[in-house]
Point group: C2
Amino acid sequence: MTGGYLKGRIRREDIIAAAVAVYAEAGYHGSSLREIAKRAGITHAGLLYYFPTKEALLAAVLERRDAENVERERLAIPPGLDFLRHMLALAAHNVRHRGMVDLYSRLAAEAVAPSHPAHDYFARHYAVAREHAELSFRAVAEAGGLRAGVDPAQAGLCFVALMDGLQVQWLTGPERVDLVAAMRFYLEGVLTVPLE
Amino acid sequence: MTGGYLKGRIRREDIIAAAVAVYAEAGYHGSSLREIAKRAGITHAGLLYYFPTKEALLAAVLERRDAENVERERLAIPPGLDFLRHMLALAAHNVRHRGMVDLYSRLAAEAVAPSHPAHDYFARHYAVAREHAELSFRAVAEAGGLRAGVDPAQAGLCFVALMDGLQVQWLTGPERVDLVAAMRFYLEGVLTVPLE
DNA sequence: CCTACCGATCGGTAGG
DNA sequence: CCTACCGATCGGTAGG
């Protein structure tokens, strides 16, 4: 007699997982509720019982991405050298989980349009990422670990931008780009302390 | 009695210009021949008289982008410090021509899928860009202008990736990102010679 | 959750 | 170059 709610939550998770896969392949505008529903094993009308519109499903996907990141990526990590190290580990993790990188890169490019339903999400995401990176470089600088003359704000902006740009090149030709080595190259050029 | 061919060429240019604008706003998959045709002042069937399929129009757009770049960007510039300076000038140019940056960023992200009709174009584009940047840093190194221990290959890859990543952040919030200053920051951190 | 349906839009073709 | 059309697909709703 119990379990009704549980089943619903599992269904929701199935649908979200299917949406992540399809968004990654086709982008948001390019994907259809029917294709997502099929992969989740229901009809598209059934999907709309759980998520009333196409946009509501996108919102749920972005929410779950954040929830995962808060748990695993731990923005809770205080800004500083450890955070930069952690981003390197995240890059290594991403290389083994192409789906999430695909999703992120496709949606970020689509969402530059202010009318895109994920625009505000990415504007906020970038602001937070830049801020956290800048504070990290600033903390490292105060500990004497930053090369002379390096501006923490610029270093933070470039760190975030580099990660994004490398991901697109890596997705385009995975065998041609060593994402983690390139990130390490950048950090080693800016820091005066060892990374590990 | 003359001019028939000329008129056709002008029409083609109108259609391509309209396609650039629509691709930039909606991506390739997200744009329709009807919308592009409307902006060019004809019907979608009329457009198909000039470009027989949706893919043929995309190919024409990419070809024109290359033609423009060969002329203005001059990959003819030999690898070296002048090429890096030129990329800075190109970044400054891009900031005043958002449409081309939009088009490029949207298509690049879409085209990471090997099945995308522009995939090979971007794979080649990235390979050429990395190669040219690497050779530039190598030339600078031989003239003693590269900081000790900097690998030209990594510096080239990161230079190209940084440009792409900055463009997406700049498109998402133009008032929050100074694209040219960030590029300059990166170059000044890697080079030991002044940029201007 | 499904069946059945709606109006809108898509790329492409026929025929002129 | 246009009118007129095709089959396919879209997001969403009704009604159960």
